[in-house]
């Protein structure tokens, strides 16, 4: 919103000893954000009226002329392309050095080889309108050499551009008078009481005893919070005076005619929107405010068809609809050049309903924007009287017919808040004297009653609609006016207490650390939303239909992912274009849909992808995942798939499970993860050319527990150990785990450990496996006899299990 400082000065004298920039900064710190400070109309002082004396064709350009003109002091010449140049015409001239609206400064230049000494201007170049067809042609009797500003009678103004977001909670700041009150309070200046009781009485004297020509009915269930109206006659539609046009332009409104301009002007002044009807268009002399009743179409002032619904509140006459309550009037009832009888409306509407309708229609108007902020019904009368006053000024011959009518008035409830200087000091952390508090509040139009230490604060009704509710709001008023800059920062009292990362956070960090420093993987982040298409591409059996978004940005982000696997596959497919092999991980979430109250559960998961164009990265991944469990102090088992124990992170029917490169991760007796080479049937669907191993590890169920480090020290052995290697024959596809399992059942108490030393493939069917068994007696040196016996037992056990010694 633009604020005209000329206008503000109608109500308050601003300090002249600080710069405009400082003025804006102080206002930003105390009230609302001043996004920019601009001076308007400065260029109009520099632009002079000249008379064209000679026109020649440019020698090198058909469409350009060399125009010579008289500035009153000398003859000058410019290159000009305007079609409407003619000798004797008076036109505006901007000389070199003039800055025009849009920040464009004229510099000396040659156009097609001929120097141009400035520019003759069109309307839009001067910021006076939109016309660009030719030069702005001035009256024939315009005085040569006069500035355009003097010719037009415009004043230069300073505009504060206010960020609308910073005043969403302040309905009172949507008009210049409210803004002026803030300037007065912030800079400690008196505010002119322009809407005094005397002023009211003066205008009320214009009322007559006649029967009001328009009757007003407000139906009880509508969203109207009060409706005031008054009729006037004998008005003349004509242009507004320049000063009013200037102010409206400064505030971004196009001047139209005196009646419409006054309507806009009063809104910009009081912050309360209003509507002026051509009274002859009000059918049946009656205005009825009611709900739409049924869905239907209404054509608004901007000639757009609007789809209304039954619950919208409309302003109607006997026969038809004339406006949408609080948003916009209709085309039919608007002011025409011939209008002489008018009806002035100043009404208030419920904030939430105006907002709802305006959002639905996509129609945000100056009026709806203000009503959304919760306006004060008590201001209706004042704004209506101000309309009457300005109309009388514009058309002294106009008369008021009848008294003001007021209907369905719902005054803003009175609000008193108790507070104390002590309390204010404690919340701000800065002492403010009670007298100063009273002074600040009174400058903001609060009434304060001092009762000992207690301050009883009477809130003005226009701030009590929503903005001010309780003590903290009063404290804010004091804080912002004294300036938060003037509060000395103080350290809060800190109790000596220890803090550390939560168990869950520690576990997540450890996993990230491990993946980066041990697994040599890159961390990624992906959207936790997914689309049906990707789930189908991955053949993922769970579709999470219940966790679908109503207003997703795109179908591929329409629901929460039931698993990280499809997303990880998609990312693998994308990255294979740039890398032959890669490793990445995400410490992310998937989402479980639940029945009933619980609705859903966020699952905290580690997802890892190892990709290689040629070989299988499965063992590399498994060799990363296994030590991860030790690193986290978790006792975990890695086991083949087993129908009896379903895995919550891996639906059994998923076709991406590899026939033998698959293991469940089991922690504390429950399956909570997988390590899997994605079946080619799935990678093919993603056009992945290579091998993808993926691991999921869900920590949700145990991350909040404290995981103790159960490491225990064992004394180092005092006697030497002995190693025994033997090589056995096995089927080529027998996993070594089968052999190790046999060895684990070996009943030799001196056996310390069994490991595989070597595997050698003999043929397609057979391989040899060399097993190293370590024997140790912690009490004494092993005797050759004991060793021999133990070794024999190893060989016999293996043989019995079907693994004969290689001969």
């Amino acid at each position: 919103m633009n604020i005209s400082i000329n206008w503000i000065k109608d109500y308050v004298d601003l300090p002249d000893d600080i710069t405009l920039g400082e003025l804006g900064t102080r206002f930003t710190l105390a009230t609302c954000e001043v996004e920019g400070v601009e001076t308007t109309g400065e260029h109009l002082k520099a632009v002079k009226i000249v008379e064209i004396t000679e026109i020649e064709q440019h020698p090198d350009a058909d469409r350009l002329n060399l125009v010579t003109f008289n500035t009153g002091e000398e003859q000058r010449r410019v290159v000009c392309g305007a079609p409407n140049v003619a000798v004797g015409k008076k036109v505006p001239f901007a000389s070199i050095g003039t800055t025009l609206p849009g920040g464009f400064t004229l510099v000396p230049k040659k156009i097609r080889g001929i120097a141009s000494e400035g520019m003759l201007c069109a309307e839009d170049e001067l910021g006076l309108g939109e016309a660009h067809d030719g030069l702005l042609i001035l009256d024939d009797d315009a005085q040569i050499g006069m500035s355009l500003a003097d010719y037009l009678g415009t004043e230069s103004d300073i505009v504060f551009e206010i960020d609308n977001k910073s005043i969403t909670h302040r309905p009172d700041l949507w008009g210049h008078y409210g803004m002026a009150r803030e300037f007065a309070a912030v800079f400690g200046r008196p505010l002119k009481d322009v809407f005094s009781k005397e002023w009211r009485e003066g205008l009320k004297a214009l009322y007559t005893d006649e029967e009001p020509p328009v009757t007003i009915t407000v139906e009880e269930d509508s969203c109207c919070l009060g409706f005031t109206g008054i009729s006037m006659e004998n008005v003349t539609v004509k242009p507004s005076p320049q000063w009013m046009q200037d102010r409206l332009s400064t505030c971004g409104m196009r001047p139209i005619n005196n009646i419409v301009d006054i309507s806009n002007y009063v809104m910009l002044e009081t912050g309360m929107p209003n509507h002026i009807y051509d009274r002859d268009t009000i059918k049946g002399g009656e205005i009825i405010v009611r709900r739409m009743g049924e869905d239907g179409v209404f054509v608004t002032l901007d000639e757009q068809e609007r789809n209304m619904i039954a619950t919208d509140t409309m302003v109607c006459d006997k026969e038809r609809i004339s406006g949408i309550g609080g948003i916009m009037g209709g085309l039919d009832s608007s002011i025409k050049d011939s209008t002489s009888r008018i009806f002035l409306e100043s009404a208030n509407w419920r904030d939430s309903e105006v907002r709802k309708t305006s959002v639905r229609l996509g129609l945000r108007t100056d009026a709806s924007q203000r009503y959304e902020k919760s306006l004060d019904t008590n201001l209706l009368e004042q704004s209506l009287l101000r309309l009457v006053e300005l109309l009388k000024e514009s058309c002294p011959e106009a008369v008021v017919v009848g008294p003001m009518q007021k209907t369905a008035m719902q005054p803003t409830p009175e609000l008193k808040i108790t507070c104390s200087a002590d309390r204010i000091a404690r919340v701000l952390g800065e002492t403010v004297a009670a007298e100063r508090i009273v002074e600040i509040l009174e400058s903001l139009d609060f009434k304060v009653t001092v009762d000992g230490d207690v301050l009883i604060v009477d809130v003005p009704s226009y701030r009590a609609t929503k903005d001010i509710e309780f003590e903290a709001d009063i404290i804010e008023e004091i804080g912002r006016v004294i300036g938060y800059d003037n509060i000395t920062p103080v350290s809060p009292i800190n109790l000596a207490e220890t803090t550390r990362l939560s168990d869950a956070k520690q576990m997540q960090r450890k996993i990230q650390d491990y993946m980066v420093f041990h697994a040599r993987a890159l961390e990624v982040m992906t959207y936790p939303m997914i689309g049906k298409k990707l789930l189908e591409q991955a053949s993922w059996p769970i579709k999470n239909e219940k966790l679908t978004l109503v207003n997703a940005l795109a179908p591929e982000l329409s629901r929460m992912r039931p698993s990280m696997v499809p997303t990880l596959l998609e990312k693998a497919a994308q990255n294979q274009k740039n890398f032959n092999s890669f490793r990445f991980f995400e410490m992310g979430r998937s989402y479980e849909s639940l029945e009933g109250q619980a609705y859903s559960k966020d699952r905290y998961q580690l997802g890892v992808v190892f990709f290689d164009k040629t070989g299988s990265p499965f063992l590399d991944l498994l060799n990363v995942m296994k030590p991860l469990m030790n690193f986290l102090n978790l006792k975990a088992q890695f086991e083949p798939a087993n129908e009896k124990y379903p895995n919550p992170v891996m639906p059994a029917e998923w076709s991406g499970v590899h026939p033998h490169e698959y293991l469940n991760i089991k922690v504390m007796g429950k399956n909570c993860g997988i390590v899997n080479t994605v079946h080619p049937i799935i990678t093919r669907q993603f056009k992945i050319k290579g091998n993808v191993a993926v691991a999921i590890f869900d920590i949700t169920d145990f991350m909040d527990r404290e995981i103790k480090d159960k490491t225990k020290y064992t004394a180092l052995p005092k006697f030497p150990s002995s190693k025994f290697d033997c090589t056995v024959v096995a089927d080529a596809q027998t996993p070594v785990s089968d052999i190790l399992r046999v060895m684990n059942k070996l009943k030799v108490k001196e056996a310390e450990g069994v490991k595989i030393l070597d595997v050698f493939k003999m043929s397609e069917e057979q391989k040899t496996v060399t097993i190293r068994t370590t024997f140790l007696d912690r009490e004494k040196t092993l005797s050759p006899e004991v060793l021999r016996e133990a070794e024999d037992k190893v060989v016999a056990t293996l043989k019995k299990a079907g693994f004969p010694l290689k001969v």
């Binding site: 910073s166 701000l428 804010e476 938060y484 803090t499 040599r520 890159l522 940005l553």
Partner: protein, 347 residues
């Protein structure tokens, strides 16, 4: 005799360096020092010499003997090293062919840039005695809106651009303030904690807007917590984040969950407050919203606002990440493109 000795010395010195293997070295040694060696050969004449001559020749011979022995030890060491080195030459390998120059080499690894910044900030808060909390992405109306003093009719709901689920009761959290609510439910005052995490807004994405981004919510509740405390706190925190003394200022800002509410500006770090393009010539950059916790919010969290009060603030992490690394497009953060994350490699 001395002259003979000198000649022998010369001969020795000239030939010793030509020895290249252990065998010839052994032979050479006995040629000079053996019983029938060249030195003894000369010394044979000593018997008939005068005492003076004996004395001087004896000393010179001893000196020479020592020189021979030392030279031979040195030469032996040289031969051994040459032998090993010639072996090593056979097992030469290209030491410039390291992982980092090969396509097939082990790839770079590292944290996501958001993780880097988030950890850094979490650690600052831990050092100041804050707990780090977390919460679900899928929230209910109560935790995201109601408990934060944003009732159903509040205009702030429009501003939030919420992703709603089909039941119209659950949503994707629009801010980390929900963690505030959950924190209050779980803790007895006094307390202080922060809640970092992903949040979601239903708005079109472009280089500077994302529908999923990261915030860090902070809250401190105690007895008589004041605006002065808040300012102190923010100044300390931001000085630590930016690793230099920063100036901050508060100005009125409206957020339903705080009262009074503030926009906190930080003095432009680019120009130092004199005005530049980044700060739009104002010298200040809007950084974070904060304020004194609204009594309705405390009440919704089960805390008596008559006894306790506090402050809260929200920090956008993605913007800090983008500022720190000069990232031009926020959409890279969730792209999963390894060419992007690779640039933040840890080693």
């Amino acid at each position: 005799m001395l002259q003979k000795l000198e000649e022998l010395k010369k001969e020795f010195r000239e030939s010793v360096e030509g020895l290249t293997d252990k065998n010839s070295l052994a032979k050479f040694k006995s040629d000079y020092l053996g019983k029938k060696g060249k030195l003894n050969d000369i010394l044979k004449g000593m018997r008939s010499a005068t005492t003076d001559v004996k004395k001087s020749v004896g000393a010179a011979a001893n000196e020479f003997k020592q020189e021979i022995q030392e030279s031979l030890v040195k030469q032996l060491a040289k031969i051994e090293i040459d032998e090993i080195n010639s072996q090593l030459k056979k097992s030469w390998q290209d030491v410039t062919l390291t992982d980092d120059v090969q396509v097939k080499g082990l790839q770079a690894s590292g944290y996501h840039p958001v993780t880097l910044i988030q950890r850094e900030i979490e650690d600052i808060f831990i050092s100041m005695g804050f707990d780090i909390l977390d919460g679900p992405h899928i929230e209910d109306d109560f935790h995201n809106f109601e408990a934060l003093n944003i009732p159903a009719t509040h205009p702030a709901r429009d501003m939030q651009d919420t992703f709603w689920f089909t039941d119209m009761a659950h949503l994707l959290r629009t801010h980390t303030s929900c963690i505030q609510v959950r924190g209050m439910e779980a803790h007895e005052p006094p307390f202080k904690f922060v809640g970092p995490g992903k949040v979601f807004r239903c708005e079109a994405t472009d280089a500077s807007h994302e529908m999923a981004f990261h915030q860090l919510e902070g809250m401190m509740v105690g007895k008589d917590i004041s605006v002065a405390n808040l300012i102190y706190f923010m100044k300390t925190l931001l000085s630590e984040i930016f690793r230099k003394d920063v100036n901050v200022r508060l100005r009125p800002g409206f957020f339903p969950f705080v009262e009074p509410g503030f926009e906190l500006d930080i003095e432009c770090l680019i120009c130092g407050g004199t005005g530049c393009k980044v700060c739009k010539q104002s010298g200040w950059v809007e950084l974070l919203p904060c304020g004194m916790v609204h009594p309705n919010v405390l009440r919704a969290g089960g805390i008596d606002p008559e006894q306790w009060n506090g402050f809260a603030f929200g920090l956008g992490l993605d913007r800090l990440v983008m500022m720190r690394y000069h990232i031009d497009d926020i959409r890279h953060l969730h792209s999963g493109d390894l060419r992007f994350v690779e640039q933040f490699k840890a080693y």
